[in-house]
Structures are given as C-alpha cells and as structure tokens.
Assembly symmetry: C2
Homo-oligomer: 232 residues x 2
C-alpha cells in the first residue's frame, strides 16, 4: 500500500487490513482489543479507534457494543456498492441486472461443479432444503436464502471476484423490485435448484451449466410475464 | 424510500436523491445552494449540510470548495465497491476478474452494436484514437483511456447495470495488478479496438461479439504468459 499523503489513521487502517490478511482472520473472527492493537501496531488508542471507525464504515469491520470488533460478514463490500439507488427506472434496472446474472450464473455453476469441496456442497444443499421449507411460509426468508444459495455456489466456484459480485447483483434485484420476486414460480425453482445441486455434487460441469441456464431462462420468462401484466 | 427508523439527515439525503431524479440532474450538474435547498426541502441548513456530506461520502455528490456542490462523476459508486482491497492473492484476483470480463464484454459489445447512438459511436471512436496516440508515450493515460473505452461501450449497450459494473471490474484489474497491464501487447490491442468500433458502427452484433471475444482471448493469453514469466 502506498502511504504517501495519507493521514495517520488511514495508514493505520491499511496496517489493520494487512494484520487481518497476515493472521488470515475470517468473517466473524474477533480483532484484538484496542489496547493490544495499539501496543502491537505501536500507535495511540485514539488513532486505533479512528482507524477502526473508518474500517467499520467501509464494512470491513463490525463493532458490536460490549462484545468487541469483528471481521464483518459484508467483507468490505459497500452498501449499494454499484450506486443503483440513483437509477430511476427500477424495472429496467432489474432486467439489466438479470441480463448480467443470465450471462454469469451458468459459468459460475460450471466452475462450482469443478471446484466445490464436500463441505461447500453440503452447505449449498442445506440452503436448498431451507428454501423449499420457507417457500410457502416466509417469502422474505426465502428471498434471503435464495441470495445465500447463489452466493454459496459462487463461493464454491473458487472465483473470488464472482463471490464478491454475485450476491450484490442478486440483492440489488430484490432491493429494487419487490414485485418481480413474488412472481417467481415455485415449482420450477424447487426442481431446478435440485438439478443444480445434483450436478455440482456429481462434479458434472456441463450439467451444472445447463441446469443453471434453464433456471435463469425460466426466471427471465417470469420477469417478462410480470412486466406484461404490470403494463396491462 | 422507507423512512421509518431513519434519522433526519438520512431522510433528507433520500429526499435530495429524489430531487436529483425528479429534476433529471446529470453528472457535473450543480445542486442548488444550501440556502435554496433548505428552503425548498423545508429543513434547516445544518441538516442539509450533514445530508450533503453523507452523499459526498457515498460519491453521489462532489463538493468543490468555493464553486458549489455537483453531481459526482462517480455516480454513487463507492471506492473499492466490491471490497477487493481485502483479497490477498492479487494475481488470482486479476485472473478471476478477467474471467468475468471475458464472459460479459462480448455480450456488452453486441448490445452496443444494437443500441449505440451516433454520438456514442463518435465518443467511442475518439477514445480509441486517443489510446493509439497515448500508447507509446504515456502508459498511465493509456490505461485510463482503456477503462474509458470499455466503459463507453458499456454505456452504449444501454444496459445500466453493465454501465455501472464494467468500469469497476476494469479499474480493479489495473488497481491490483500493475505488472499485467504493462505486458499487454500493443499491436493486437490497436487492431482489435478498431475491429470492435467498426462492428459497432455497422450495428453488426455478431461482428462486435466476435471482435470483443478475440480481444479478451488475446488479453487472457497475455495474462497467462505474464504469470508464467513471473513464476520463472
């Protein structure tokens, strides 16, 4: 990291990031307390406090009152990172985001079939089952689990950029268009999620690619149907 | 926007975003001054000030000392929006980002061939020419122009999500791996940029798709060559 022209707390923020990387701290892990960190990094506690505050605003750290400071599960990804809150036409935005998913997700599924560990496959399958259970009872939970399902597949793809990007695309779709998500056809989703997981389990890249393609195609058909109904 | 539980400055920040949308303010446009805005939105000037500060930190607005407050050209996109600063292995990150470009850019080029206006085509062509000029004299300028070139094509695709995403992917690649970008082969880039622009000009989607695919494939070959040389 380039430190020229940076203020001390910013430099210390960079140093804390290096500390996190060197100690391989994972999401949910606890950072040493202010006192120990100040000692370790050889700076004042007020500087540490300011650096931690700035890292919390960047979603790198999460400060839980009374419990300590932890690696945020947001993994440094900003709120509304792509600035979609500024886009006016949210139905078009949803369709445009969908276009991106349509192109990326089949490749992600194929990579997941190639690279997923047994633990990752098990985690994906558990979320798949939870989605089926939530489907008739709790739409909001179902939608959150759906983001989690595709996010876990992206994680299993072993492409770190996909793992950061896919959840953002999916969350944005839900965020900016409630109506669409309620239109999603349940039976198709259940069956295709099962196909996707089965293909990843068998490490069959083509089958995973195809099942995800069909899943995306069905979703887009539903989105367009929803649009036509809305325009009536 | 949901205002329950939000503090007043946050609510006013939302209102300012609505104001920007309703008045269709574009990048570089000036926001009314604090006094007029306070009057228009019927809140105190200190609240406006706090709301503007928060929108500036979100890269929605840009405060230029003495000149006023403007719509930021960062279009609300956070600095390091995808949290890549936390990723340790930057060569792997570069390759993983490249995988995303490889999948998205040909489709973006095809959409641009379908949708680009004459003004957009002209702007793309001007940047193409500027890249050729900068190539032997100013590497940093060339890289910035390259991001601009692909960003303008994404804009011309008329997919707003692509327009937000493509520059972030490209900037991240340059940001986290200097070495790679210097390895890029110049002649191939010049020729393929020309092919891409020619195809978009002719509104030939397949030709645009193919030219961009070749451009991406060459770039990936160079990236892998660079990796092998680095590992020697």
């Amino acid at each position: 990291m380039e430190n020229i022209g940076k203020k001390l707390p910013e430099q210390v923020a960079d140093t804390i990031i290096e500390y996190i990387q060197e100690h391989d701290l994972q999401v949910g892990d606890r950072l040493p307390n202010e006192y120990d960190l100040a000692k370790e990094l050889n700076v004042g506690r007020s500087t540490i406090r300011e650096a931690v505050r700035s890292l919390a605003s960047r979603n790198v750290l999460e400060v839980r009152q009374g419990a300590g400071t932890f690696i945020s599960k947001k993994r440094g990804i900003a709120d509304d990172p792509l600035g979609f809150g500024l886009v006016k036409d949210t139905l078009k935005l949803t369709k445009d985001l969908f276009e991106i998913r349509y192109i990326l997700e089949p490749r992600v599924a194929a990579l997941a079939a190639a690279n997923a560990s047994n633990e990752e496959i098990q985690a994906i399958d558990e979320v798949r089952l939870a989605i089926e259970k939530a489907m008739d009872t709790d739409t909001e939970l179902q939608l959150n689990l759906d983001v989690e399902f595709h996010s876990l597949i992206a994680k299993a793809s072993n492409n770190v950029a996909m793992h950061h990007l896919i959840p953002i695309i999916n969350e944005s779709m839900f965020l900016y268009n409630d109506g669409y998500t309620n239109q999603r056809v349940k039976e198709e989703t259940i069956l295709l999620h099962r196909e996707i997981v089965a293909a990843i389990k068998k490490h069959d890249c083509d089958a995973a690619f195809d099942a995800m393609t069909v899943h995306m195609a069905y979703n887009r058909m539903n989105l367009n149907r929803f649009e036509q109904e809305t325009n009536k």
